[in-house]
Subunit: 344 residues, 2 copies
Amino acid sequence: MKSKKRTTIYDIAEKLNIAPSSVSRALNNSSYVKESTKKLILQTAEELNYKMNSLASNLRKGQSKTIGVIVPRINQNFFANVIAGIEDASYKQGYNLIICQSNELYEKEVQCVNTLINQNVDCIVISISVETINYQHLKNILDHHIELIQFDRVADELETLKVINDTLQASYEAVNHLINQGYKRIALLEGPQSLNIFRQRKEGYLQALKKHNIPIIDELMLENAWTKELGAQATRQLLSLPNPPDAIFASTSDFSALGVLEVATAMNIKVPSQLGICGYSNEDFTEITSPSITTIDQFSVDMGKTIANLYFEEMNNSNVSATPKTISIKPKLITRSSTQRSAE
Amino acid sequence: MKSKKRTTIYDIAEKLNIAPSSVSRALNNSSYVKESTKKLILQTAEELNYKMNSLASNLRKGQSKTIGVIVPRINQNFFANVIAGIEDASYKQGYNLIICQSNELYEKEVQCVNTLINQNVDCIVISISVETINYQHLKNILDHHIELIQFDRVADELETLKVINDTLQASYEAVNHLINQGYKRIALLEGPQSLNIFRQRKEGYLQALKKHNIPIIDELMLENAWTKELGAQATRQLLSLPNPPDAIFASTSDFSALGVLEVATAMNIKVPSQLGICGYSNEDFTEITSPSITTIDQFSVDMGKTIANLYFEEMNNSNVSATPKTISIKPKLITRSSTQRSAE
DNA sequence: TAAATTTCGGCAATCGATTGCATTTTTTAA
DNA sequence: TTAAAAAATGCAATCGATTGCCGAAATTTA
């Protein structure tokens, strides 16, 4: 281990006075090598601290056993969990992960895609940035015969494998729950409508209202209430209306819901009796606020595992896969104090 | 883009009837190509949707422009933030990240290391698992001439680049703060002492007590209170002592501190007047519990950036780097309600 | 116009593992 | 004992980009 260069199969071959091809076969446990020589080779490899050079192997084999993942932010709970799930399932199959974050920037997303294509990844898993409305870079992935799996924030019009939450349904159930708890004027904090998930969450809200013949009031639907601060701001606006809402569905995130809760608390408005609050994502903290916040669990780690396994299945079914599969995971409404009216 | 194979420099060379070497030089913007042909080549590459094959390039160049990262869990706030920081800084230098999680398992950590060596990464960044007490796999990284950077949970005895928090100091300050707030019997929830960070947090606690001539009481120091549940359990034990503590420093994590708070609340013990609580890590939720929890911020994203930049510096200083550098980041005590006694 | 530079561009080896095909060795059958 | 079959091993090309070295073309100088 003193030498400057790492051990290669040639070193092993030379030492044992055999052909490199035999070494390669032995290391790959091919049946075309005598047991005795195989043992010898493995032993020598161990001695020389041989580590195979995946670059060479992958170059030759034309695959990289690597999955590229692009998310807006790595350190956002939902994405971190999905990545953890993907890693877990991939690792078991001997696959590695290359992770990129787009920082919600279209330009960077494109660059990430290019990098991953360069890296010869076998599959790219992506949740698009909020800025992304052009999908040429995604099509480019397909042109390069790389498997593409979209998750959560997907481009509907692109026919690729997809793993999503049944967002509309979850949203519908959440609003339905609010209605059942007796709330009559339910406001909606929307996310950027460029993203399909936020469109769906709005749609679920609308459908639930419609179902119960509750009028849809424009001034109760506020766009761009994505963060805690914006959620708080929107709440102030809503609560100062002549006819304020009695519940707020922060469909964008739990952070937004937290903003709502803080403003309500500051204004001395009782939650849930005077104001119901529902968030989205089941962040850790929703359980420990007072009152705890009703929210929706997305089973993010499972989602990650599902994504990876979808790829592995699809890979084995190398037959002309008919229609691009979409797997929908049903999220779960977690009802907590912020929407549990005592009098019911 | 219909063909089954991707465009290579040979395709471009053939189309323009020149040598592949010229194509390569043009793409790498070498000065040994006429401007006019360079332009032509670049244009043709664009037309053919050429993407370079990093595998081939890296194999030839003997480097991979890739950094491997091994953490216990990707979806743990602190690590997710560090990774985000590393990604950010690395991306700017044209480097990619391969991420692995050890799941706190020694065996898996070893496997991750081997995978990363196989992948020819240029650098491995690691925060060791709680099980890791043997460092042969880390030495193996060095034997393969791969730069090794340890962070946060480091093996002290290994001479490598390190990026750490000044844990001892932070812990000392936290306890000092508690003492200044008038707490007299301060309990300590410890993490596994196999990890140096937990040893240091304990040491900081001990030093602070010593400084103020406060006796060190064994029954106030509980090991293995790592999670919320264990923190809660430890708290019950502590509070049922004949002479219970009036403050608890959950040096393991904010989750543990949360467990403390929940038990205290359940037992109707007033925080901070009857019991002071201090956590560690500055998790999001510490700000929104009631009362909010005093804790220690580790500047995790910055830590990630520091790690990446340390590598790039070190790489440029290819001179025989004298002593393996250790960068220590000073964490910050965030004092909040859980330790702010009104009567002071 | 010839000689000396400088600039371009091509040839071919290289990185390390894999694999189709050929060859040698061993085993089995005749 | 020999031929045929099977098993083991070797040879050499390949994956795609890079680069040292050399020759050709273009430019400058004498």
